[in-house]
């Protein structure tokens, strides 16, 4: 018994020690919302109940294994039935389970019932990136795995280490989701292709993104910081490469960010009415292609035979521009729609595809995209 107590206190020390946590990540995060803390407490409560039951049951079993062995001359008893014990060990677990179900139900109802949110963010899972829309603020952008991580997936351990020191390997994105602190945020979660699942552990929000349906979840972050998560539902080839990064900022910083994003949008709309040079389009297109298209069609345009068509020698990229515009904007079969990209992004990426990889298609201007929509 003394041994067990020592063991239990050692485990407690291990679980609560901050340095160990940071190094190995042994336990669930406590997170930065009231709900995430409730969930952590619930998790620890159930864990310790299981440990206690385990100690009793395995204790009895090991006592028996040590004391009631033939080599020690133990003679077998012959009892093999007792209705009283059977009732006891049916009844006691039921009581323990009820005791666990009460706080679990309470937390669950807290999670599911939301009276009023301060703001709404729509989250759309797309193979293999996230789109964020702020309907009230008129902000919309797509968040991809950071190019720095993508570049070293096949690289050396040292390269990954370097990327990791700079910006967390595989848990970094090109555009962060930005949210104000101490604000109740409702997330409307959906998908444009297969099922994804949007997960930020520190918010204790994980919700499936189902195509054609909208789920909701909410969080009220209480601490400023950067929080990282990942897609949690297998969604195809690059399921492991669609992270989530959220910056929780002060309300003042958030207001500044909203203004910047809105100004960027105005500039973007203005640029779409101009005529671009081919070189500018191809240069911008390469960036857009690598972030949005290379996952399937590959960086070198070779595709994956039988699954993802190649860009090299593609009939589409060498054929009429109108067909390709429709394909990129509206999608077809396994090809997702990219209508969330701006006119200049779509014009650039189509031009890049038609003028690179040895292709000889025509140049597409942002105005062509505007009229094709």
């Amino acid at each position: 018994m003394k041994l067990l107590l020592t063991l239990a206190s050692a485990i407690t020390a291990l679980l609560s020690s901050k340095s160990v946590l940071a190094e190995y990540g042994l336990n669930m995060t406590q997170g930065i919302t009231d709900i995430s803390k409730d969930i952590y407490d619930l998790h620890m409560m159930v864990f310790w109940v299981c440990v206690a039951i385990g100690v009793v049951v395995f204790g009895a079993m090991f006592y028996s294994i040590i004391a009631h062995r033939k080599s020690k001359g133990a003679k077998a008893a012959h009892f093999h039935e007792s209705t009283t014990v059977e009732f006891l060990w049916t009844g006691i677990p039921i009581i323990i389970l009820i005791a666990m179900a009460i706080p679990a139900s309470k937390t669950l109802i807290d999670i599911e019932v939301l009276d009023k949110a301060d703001m709404t963010v729509k989250v759309t899972g797309i193979q293999w990136k996230w789109q964020y829309d702020y309907p009230e603020e008129g902000i919309s952008f797509v968040s991809n795995l950071a190019q720095s991580s993508r570049d070293v997936v096949n690289g050396t351990p040292e390269e990954r280490e370097a990327v990791n020191n700079d910006d967390t390997y595989l848990l970094s994105v090109d555009k962060h989701l930005v949210l104000p602190v101490d604000t109740t945020i409702r997330f409307l979660i959906t998908s444009s292709d297969v099922i994804h699942s949007w997960w930020v552990p520190e918010f204790a929000v994980k919700q499936d993104a189902n195509p054609g349906f909208i789920n909701d979840a909410w969080a009220k972050p209480t601490e400023i910081g950067t929080y990282r998560g990942q897609c949690a539902e297998l969604c195809g080839k690059d399921h492991g490469f669609m992270p989530i990064v959220v910056d929780v900022v002060s309300q003042a910083d958030y207001a500044v960010w909203v203004e910047t994003m809105q100004a960027e949008k105005v500039a973007e709309l203005a640029s779409a009415t101009q005529v671009w040079t081919e070189a500018d389009l191809v240069a911008k297109g390469e960036t857009v292609y690598n972030a949005n298209c290379s996952g399937c069609h590959q960086k070198d345009g070779s595709g994956i035979p039988g699954v993802f068509p190649a860009m090299i020698g593609s009939e589409v990229a060498n054929g009429p521009a109108a067909y390709q515009l429709n394909l990129v904007i509206n999608g077809m079969g396994g090809m997702p729609a990219f209508k969330m990209l701006s006119d200049s992004d779509i014009a650039a990426v189509i031009t890049y595809e038609r003028r690179s990889f040895g292709n000889n298609g025509s140049v597409v201007q942002p105005s062509d995209v505007t009229s094709a929509r």
């Binding site: 190995y24 990540g25 042994l26 336990n27 409730d38 969930i39 619930l42 998790h43 159930v46 864990f47 009895a60 079993m61 028996s64 294994i65 062995r69 133990a74 077998a76 012959h78 009892f79 093999h80 039935e81 007792s82 014990v85 049916t90 039921i94 679990a104 019932v113 997936v153 096949n154 990954r160 990791n164 967390t168 390997y169 595989l170 848990l171 292709d193 297969v194 099922i195 699942s197 552990p201 204790a204 994980k206 919700q207 189902n210 195509p211 054609g212 349906f213 998560g229 990942q230 949690a232 539902e233 297998l234 969604c235 195809g236 080839k237 690059d238 492991g240 994956i304 039988g306 396994g334």
Partner: protein, 537 residues
Amino acid sequence: MSSTTTAAAHDHHHHGPEKGLLRWVKTTNHKDIGTLYLWFSFVMFLIGGAFAMGIRSELLQPGLQLFEPQMFNQLTTMHGLIMVFGAIMPAFVGLANWLIPMMVGAPDMALPRMNNWSFWILPFAGTILLSTFFMEGGAPAFGWTFYAPLSTAFAPDSTDFFIFAIHLLGFSSIMGAINIIATVLNMKAPEMRLMDMPLFVWTWLITSFLLIGAMPVLAGAVTMMLTDRNFGTAFFDATGGGDPVMFQHIFWFFGHPEVYIMILPAFGIVSHIIPTFARKPLFGYSSMVYATASIAFLSYIVWAHHMFLTGMPVAGELYFMYATMLIAVPTGVKVFNWVATMWRGSMTFETPMLWALSFVILFTIGGFSGLMLGIVPADIQYHDTYFVVAHFHYVLVTGALWGIIAAVFYWLPKWTGKMYNETLGKVHFWWALVSVNVTFFPQHFLGLAGMPRRIPDYALQFADFNYISSIGSFSFALSFLLFTYIVVDCIRNGKPADARPWESAKGLEWTLPVPVAYHSFEEPPTRAEILAESQHS
């Protein structure tokens, strides 16, 4: 070859096996078919294990070294499918074939020709499934749970072959289940009452009803996939009025009974082994039967606990949470009964007992994590992480597989008439026990720390535990080379075993002389013999 067939055709009364390869093709004998099932499942176990080694090699270190992500997804998918449908399920059917007629005092299975057919479907289904690796676009890469629409509109062409293979595997399972029900209810000795039946027979009888209820639902799910993919229906496509979440409801209505299909027979096996080596009758025989039946009933009404994050209404979440927690009660009763069987026994620790004892502990650990996963708010953090991977490997590897291995060591002397090497058996046990825990225990930590399942590469903070887990898995895989040696060595060079090699083993199978005759009981055992060998006296 042709001369053997002619000879057999002329000899209507012979009771020994035919010679040569055709013996195995044409056999209707429960022991031959049991052997075929067991070797088939072992080959599938090695193939599924090879896929697992591919997965763990890729995850040994961060970065992509061996497999592109699409190939990695093919490996995880096929690992799951092969292990569930190719290894664990056929292994239990093989054990049922070998043991049930001997345990109920029957000469053979009730439907011997269907028995032959239900086995011989399997190699073809397995080959079709594995052949998808060589097709354009690769094998199915959507996980063994094949959620739509990833498995419909977004899947490779080979998915239609996968659907056909699942149909075939389903036929085989349903026929196997019908055969077992018919054998138990019609072929058991006239003097044997239901409550005289040993627990392996009871658990398999109940499992058969789960199979008959669940497999047609799976067939329905894949048929809907087939028509969605090829004939323009939209069961799982919202743009056509369907619902992708409906796929998950249908899948898990099959899938949850399925996990009990894979564990109930193991409960039965352990209920034979522990009394033998504790030299004490099984504690609470009838409560064991009732607990098994309760678990089977509950398994049909908890399916949506796999789907807490799909956007279920809160009332649904509450109901499925309570129903799920309730399963802990009959499962607990079983564990308590096993411990009470050991209590004040006279225990020895031969290889089968070691597997059975570690089954009780490790399966219970898997049960604890299952209880934790059933708590909906906590499941928000656990769902689709390595915590789930750790959980179901504790119940399927150290649960179902442990039960199968325990059964192999326990009944091998009866099947072969020879004794395996006890020292090597123990070496293999300790080797496997240590490495399986090194493999799967750290995965609890990975999941809690936030590593999602089914990813080919991971952030650097997950590197240490992944490394440990991979090393453990390599060691676990190697231990099965020793297992193969022990079994082959027993068959070829084992010393002759007694008809009842374990001194206090009970059961009608031990009354048969070794080597066992081709047909088990030509004359049904008497009431006195049945009572003398029953588990509750």
